[in-house]
């Protein structure tokens, strides 16, 4: 108890609180800028935290990343540019809602369910970090292989319209992920002698190209088209949220659980969690036909999932010093510098620091409500800017955002190429979202497949020999072949009656 009191004292003092407030504003800004991710926000904070005591240093990172993952939803909803990869899963859905005149509803839902997901993940982190971390450490390449396949199945599930075209898009994404040198054999593929292509095309420029540039191209050729007209925005950020919460509490819970678990698995983070949650939501929804037309249900589930994943990723990081995602990879370094060496002993050696971190987690998620409200209010103004002024500015925004990732104009060529590709694909009814998921998961899929094959000396049966792997494998195969099996069963039962 004394430790908890000390911890409160460490957090609720002017210095720490002002660090939290500043990093909240910083996180909101970085998350809302396409090309700058929550990971980038953390990396930019590191030199600043060198000169802070442990608790404010960690508080800065926790607050900034929570805000960034939420605010990544804002440009997605308003301009069809996902601010961070974690928002890509439901960018089209939120943009559709904005076009229907529901920008504040969708942003309010993003905000509220980000807070719920974040708080849920924090509670799990506080209550059962050591136990969950033990489970996460049981994942070898076999388990990851199945997990990635499960994630890929979600691409097909969320495809609106023609599933075959969804699969083509997914395969093209996987093909793009194969570009470059970063493959298990360390052999340059599809690089055609270009040094830049050795590092592949990069997920974020590709995402900016396929979503935002293709949208600008569409505006350029159809400035008066219906799709460009935004209905008058109605509503207030918090109005109707209680109704949403009552209606979708199951979805919110499911998204939070899935997000925490996926987040806790090293290497799988908020982006994958959001995709899987969105797919689960559609699969289990009572009105799956509404998905893709501007329906809030999937946004609720995926929005909760990506914020809970953020807290989940701290589980293996704190307990074993194994990063749950790229953000906690940086955090572990900061923990060492601050003398809070991660490991099971951290809970015994530094209880007051750990409690302080937990308090910061709660505080950051609660602070998201006022900060998010202000951010939404401010950001919504861009819908009032005439489109012929807004669209060129968005174009420049995309240029700078893509440049910022790796500081090279090569990324600008990538957004051009993928902007054209995205425009062409959508013109032909090929959804772009599965291609992006393919790029996110492609290298994980190949790496875990090849590692598993090497480890098992090529025996495919080894993919089912470990208990968790077997469970995940059977689940994946069931999901894939369920439509076939259920059709078969129906035929059988029909012939009987």
């Amino acid at each position: 108890m004394a430790d908890i009191a000390t911890a409160f004292g460490m957090v609720f003092q002017p210095y720490t609180l002002s660090v939290i407030l500043l990093s909240a504003a910083f996180g909101l800004l970085v998350g809302a800028i396409p090309g700058l991710t929550a990971t980038m926000a953390t990396a930019l904070l590191v030199p600043v935290t060198f000169f802070m005591p442990p608790v404010p240093a960690i508080a800065a990172i926790v607050t900034a990343t929570a805000m960034a993952i939420f605010s990544g939803d804002i440009p997605g909803a308003l301009m069809r540019i996902p601010g961070t990869p974690a928002s890509a899963a439901y960018t089209d859905e939120s943009y559709a809602m904005t076009r229907k005149g529901q920008a504040e509803t969708v942003l309010g839902a993003d905000l509220a369910f980000s807070v719920i997901g974040g708080l849920f993940g924090t509670v799990v982190l506080v209550l059962s970090a050591p136990q969950l971390a033990e489970i996460a450490l049981k994942f070898s390449s076999f388990e990851y292989f199945w997990l990635v396949l499960l994630g890929l199945s979600s691409a097909v599930m969320i495809t609106v319209g023609d599933p075959l075209k969804g699969v083509v898009s997914l395969l093209l994404g996987l093909l793009i992920s194969a570009i470059g040198l970063d493959n298990p054999a360390a052999y340059p593929r599809f690089t055609f002698g270009s040094i830049e292509l050795l590092g592949s095309v990069g997920l974020i420029p590709m995402m900016i190209g396929m979503f935002a540039i293709s949208e600008i191209l569409r505006f350029a050729v159809e400035p008066q088209a219906k799709a460009q007209i935004f209905k008058k925005q109605i509503g207030n950020v918090f109005r109707g949220l209680w109704g949403l919460f009552r209606r979708y509490r199951l979805q919110a819970l499911r998204g939070s659980v899935l997000g925490t678990v996926v987040g806790a698995l090293p290497g799988a983070g908020a982006d994958i969690a959001a995709w899987m949650a969105y797919a689960v939501s559609k699969k289990l929804s009572r009105e799956p036909e509404k998905f893709g037309t501007g329906h809030v249900e999937g946004i609720v589930e995926a929005g909760a999932a990506n914020n809970s994943a953020l807290a989940g990723a701290w589980i293996p990081a704190l307990v074993f010093g194994i990063p749950g995602d790229s953000i906690t990879a940086i955090v572990i370094g900061v923990l060492y510098i601050k003398g809070m060496n991660p490991g099971p002993m951290i809970f015994i050696n530094h209880p007051e620091n750990i409690y302080a971190v937990f308090i910061v987690f709660f505080l950051a998620n609660l602070l998201m409500i006022p900060f998010g409200w202000v951010a939404i209010k401010a950001a919504k103004r861009i819908l009032h800017i005439p489109r012929n002024i807004l669209m060129p500015i968005i174009l420049l925004f995309c240029v700078v955002g893509s440049f910022a990732i790796n500081n090279t104009v090569f990324a600008v060529s990538v957004i051009l190429v993928f902007g054209l590709a995205g425009y062409f694909m959508e013109e032909n009814g090929y959804p772009v979202a599965p291609a992006i998921l393919g790029v996110i998961l492609g290298s994980m899929l190949e790496e875990n497949f090849i590692s598993s094959m090497i480890k098992s000396d090529g025996r495919l049966l080894a993919f089912f020999e470990r208990p968790i792997a077997a469970g995940l494998g059977i689940l994946t195969l069931l999901i894939w072949f369920w439509p076939l099996a259920s059709r078969g069963l129906r035929t059988v039962s029909r012939t009987r009656t």
Binding site: L29, V30, I33, L36, L44, L164, V167, V168, L171, L172, L174, L175, A178, N183, P184, A185, Y187, R189, F190, I213, I216, L217, A220, V221, E222, P223, P386, N388, I389, M391, P392, I393, L395, L396, F397, V399, V400, F403, A404, N407, V409, V412, S413, I415, L416, G419, L420, F424, E427, N428, L445, E446, F449, I450, M453, I454, G458
Partner: protein, 156 residues
């Protein structure tokens, strides 16, 4: 441009074959039975399967092979499309020499004027927006945007 399933299926089959031929030359990993060719090879197989399905479906549906969107026949709209692409190309080739602020202002100005913004407001907004972007990214977020011809301002 809309392509029928037949054409798209055919294109995918060609792509799959090209990948297949390209990756067949990849070496194996020393001491392993697998190499860099396995994964792209599997993707190519998947693309070929999808291509065949699309081809079969397209042949049954008998849709026109190509269909051009109406804007391709309206010169001002086609020019808009070309201008957006051209603006990005201009940035790619000019940014290093001219610097971000000059390139960005020119890029915005051209698009504004083409999209019908009045010249005075177009100029003001273009310059101010580029300046704000520069301050935000260069100063606050420490993105090393190129200075180009305005290098002398870097020390300010």
């Amino acid at each position: 441009m809309k392509l029928s399933d037949t054409v798209m299926g055919g294109l995918l089959l060609v792509l799959a074959a090209a990948i297949g031929i390209y990756v067949s030359g990849f070496p194996r990993m020393p001491g392993q039975n697998y190499g860099a060719a396995l994964f792209p090879g599997l993707i190519a197989a998947g693309l070929a399967a999808c291509g065949a399905l699309l081809l079969a479906r397209g042949l049954r549906a008998k849709a026109p092979a190509f269909e051009f969107a109406p804007w391709t026949r309206a010169a001002p709209l086609a020019a808009n499309f070309a201008l957006v692409c051209g603006a990005l190309l201009f940035y790619i080739f000019a940014a290093e020499t001219l610097g971000f602020m000059a390139t960005g202002s020119l890029l915005l100005l051209a698009l504004f004027l083409k999209l019908g913004v009045r010249p005075l407001s177009a100029t003001v907004v273009a310059v101010v927006a580029a300046l704000v972007f520069h301050l935000l990214f260069y100063k606050l977020l420490r993105v090393p945007l190129p200075w180009g011809i305005l290098q002398f301002m870097a020390g300010w």
